[in-house]
C-alpha cells in the first residue's frame, strides 16, 4: 500500500510545474536570440514583460514547496526533493533573467547598429538549450548519469565564450568607434554562458537529491 498518496500527488504536481517553467525559459532564450539577430525591438520588449510572468511562476513554486514542507514534514529524499524544487526554480528564474538581459542588449544595440551578430552565439545558444533539456530530463527521471553530462557541455560553452570574447577584443581594436555595440554583443555571450551555468546547478541539485551530498559540476 502506498501511504501519503496526497503528498505524492502534490509532489508530482510541483515537479510538473518546474518542468513547464523550464520549457518556458528555453523558449525565452530562443526568442531572445531571434530578437538579437533580427534587431527586433518589439520582440525584445515582449520578452522583458514575459520574464515577469516567469518570476511569478517561480514564486508560486516556492510557496507550494514551502507549504508542502510545513504540512507534510518530509525527511530524507522527500525533503531533498522539496529543497531542490526551491533551488531549481530559482535557477530557472535566473535563466529567464539572462534571456531578458539579452533582450535588453538588443534594445541598447538599437535597429541601426550595422554590426553582424557573431554566428557563434547561435551555436552557444543551441548547446545551452540542449543543456536545459538534459537537466530537465535528469530532474524528471532523477537520473545522475544525465546530470553528469552537463559538466562536459558546460566546458564547451565556456571555451566558446572565451573564443568569442577574444575575437571581440580584436574587433574593438580595429573598430574603436563601435565599442559600445561590441560590448553589448559580448554581454549577450556572457548571458548565454551564465544561462548554461545555471543548468549545471540543476544537475548538481539532482546529484544532491540522489546521493545526499553536494557535488560541483561547474569547475
Amino acid at each position: 500500500m502506498v501511504a501519503r498518496e496526497q503528498f505524492q500527488v502534490e509532489l508530482s504536481k510541483l515537479r510538473g510545474d518546474i518542468i513547464s517553467l523550464a520549457h518556458e525559459t528555453e523558449k525565452l532564450l530562443e526568442k531572445s536570440l531571434e530578437a538579437l539577430y533580427n534587431q527586433d525591438i518589439d520582440m525584445a520588449n515582449d520578452i522583458i514583460s514575459y520574464d515577469t510572468k516567469l518570476d511569478q511562476k517561480e514564486l508560486k513554486i516556492n510557496e507550494d514547496a514551502i507549504l508542502l514542507i510545513a504540512r507534510q514534514q518530509p525527511v530524507a529524499t522527500d525533503l531533498r526533493r522539496l529543497i531542490i524544487a526551491l533551488r531549481i526554480s530559482s535557477d530557472l528564474e535566473r535563466m529567464g533573467d539572462n534571456a531578458k538581459n539579452i533582450a535588453k542588449s538588443t534594445i541598447h544595440l538599437g535597429e541601426e547598429h550595422g554590426l553582424t551578430i557573431h554566428p557563434a552565439l547561435t551555436d552557444m545558444k543551441n548547446i545551452a538549450l540542449k543543456m536545459v533539456d538534459l537537466s530537465i530530463k535528469a530532474f524528471e527521471y532523477e537520473d545522475i548519469t544525465l546530470a553528469r553530462k552537463l559538466s562536459e557541455l558546460d566546458d564547451l560553452v565556456d571555451s566558446m565564450y572565451g573564443e568569442i570574447i577574444r575575437e571581440m577584443l580584436e574587433e574593438t581594436a580595429t573598430n574603436p568607434q563601435k565599442i559600445q555595440h561590441i560590448m553589448q554583443m559580448a554581454f549577450s555571450a556572457r548571458y548565454i554562458e551564465r544561462f548554461a551555468d545555471h543548468t549545471t546547478n540543476i544537475g548538481e541539485s539532482i546529484l544532491y537529491l540522489v546521493k545526499g551530498e553536494t557535488l560541483n559540476l561547474n569547475e
Binding site: 501511504a3 501519503r4 514534514q73 525527511v75 530524507a76 529524499t77 551530498e213
Partner: protein, 274 residues
C-alpha cells in the same frame, strides 16, 4: 599574528570534536540478541553497541520488536512466562541475561518509564520515597534531599514544591510523567529506558519532556522508543530502525533522517508504511 590564528583555529576545533567523539564509550553491548514469546521470535539476532551518555532512539512500526527489545534490557520480559532470550546484553562486563542476575538490583541500575504516566496512588513525596524506604532509607533529612534532587533533575521541583503531600493524581499528565521520571532517578540509575514517554501528552508537556531528556543525557545513558519521527530526529544521537524483529539500520540519527542507507528505513521515516 592574525594569519596564524586563523589557520590554527579551525584545526583546534576539529581536534576537540574528535576527542569528544572518542569519549563516547559503550554502555551496553547487544550481542546476537533474540527474544521469543513461545514460538514467535519478536527480536531477531540484534547486534549493536549503545553509547554512554547519549540518547539512542528505537523506531519502527507497531509490532516490530522495539518495545520487547527495550524491556529485554532490564529483564521486564521475565514477568511474561512464555518469554525467553538468546544472546547477550553486556553491561559493565556482566551479561544481563544471565540466569543468576538479581533483577531487582538490575532495575535499579537500569530504570524504566512507560508510555502512560503510572504514579503510585500516594502523595508526590511518597511516590519518590516508596522504593527508597523499601531499600531501608528512612531518615527524613536524607529522604527530603533525594526528593528535592530527583524532582529538580526531572524539572518538576518548581511546579510541585508546595504540593509535595498532595496526591500524585492531582498533577497534570505531563507532570505525572515527569514525576515517574523523578521516581526512577531517585534510584540513581545509570541507564534510563523510556517507552514512548511523551506519546500520551500534549505538545507543551511533550516539549518539556524532550528538553528534560536532553538535560538528563549529561548524567545518564538513555534509550527511548518513540513513534514520533520528529522527536527521534530532534533529540537522539543514534537511531536504530526495527522491522519484523530485525535491526534494519543503526546509525547516527543525522544520517538516518537525512540519507539512510536502507530503502526500508527511508520508506518508514518518510511515512510510506508503518
Amino acid at each position: 599574528m592574525m594569519a596564524s590564528t586563523i589557520t590554527i583555529e579551525p584545526q583546534t576545533n576539529k581536534n576537540k570534536k574528535r576527542e569528544i567523539d572518542k569519549q563516547k564509550d559503550t554502555i551496553l553491548e547487544i550481542k546476537d540478541l533474540s527474544i521469543f514469546y513461545g514460538d514467535n521470535q519478536a527480536v531477531k539476532h540484534a547486534t549493536f553497541d549503545i553509547d554512554e551518555h547519549a540518547i539512542t532512539a528505537l523506531i519502527g512500526p507497531s509490532g516490530c520488536g522495539k518495545s520487547t527489545f527495550l524491556r529485554g534490557i532490564n529483564r521486564m520480559n521475565d514477568l511474561i512466562p512464555i518469554a525467553r532470550n538468546e544472546g547477550q546484553i553486556i553491561y559493565e562486563d556482566i551479561n544481563l541475561l544471565d540466569k543468576n542476575i538479581n533483577t531487582i538490583a538490575l532495575r535499579k541500575e537500569i530504570g524504566m518509564v512507560f508510555q502512560k504516566p503510572n504514579p503510585f496512588p500516594k502523595s508526590v513525596y511518597n511516590n519518590i520515597t516508596h522504593a527508597l524506604k523499601f531499600y531501608g532509607k528512612r531518615k527524613k533529612k536524607q529522604l527530603d534531599e533525594v526528593v528535592e534532587e530527583s524532582l529538580r533533575k526531572a524539572a518538576l521541583w518548581d511546579e510541585v514544591k508546595d504540593r509535595l503531600h498532595e496526591s500524585a493524581f492531582s498533577l497534570s499528565g505531563g507532570q505525572q510523567q515527569r514525576l515517574c521520571i523523578a521516581r526512577t532517578l531517585a534510584m540513581k540509575p545509570n541507564v534510563l529506558l523510556l517507552d514512548e514517554p511523551s506519546s500520551a501528552l500534549d505538545p507543551i508537556s511533550n516539549a518539556k519532556i524532550e528538553e528534560l531528556i536532553l538535560q538528563l543525557k549529561e548524567d545518564y545513558s538513555i534509550i527511548i522508543v518513540t513513534h514520533n519521527m520528529q522527536q527521534a530526529s530532534r533529540i537522539s544521537d543514534k537511531t536504530a530502525f526495527f522491522l519484523n524483529g530485525s535491526v534494519i539500520e543503526y546509525d547516527e540519527t543525522e544520517k538516518i533522517f537525512t540519507n539512510p542507507a536502507h530503502g526500508k528505513t527511508e520508506d518508514y521515516i518518510s511515512g510510506r508504511f508503518g
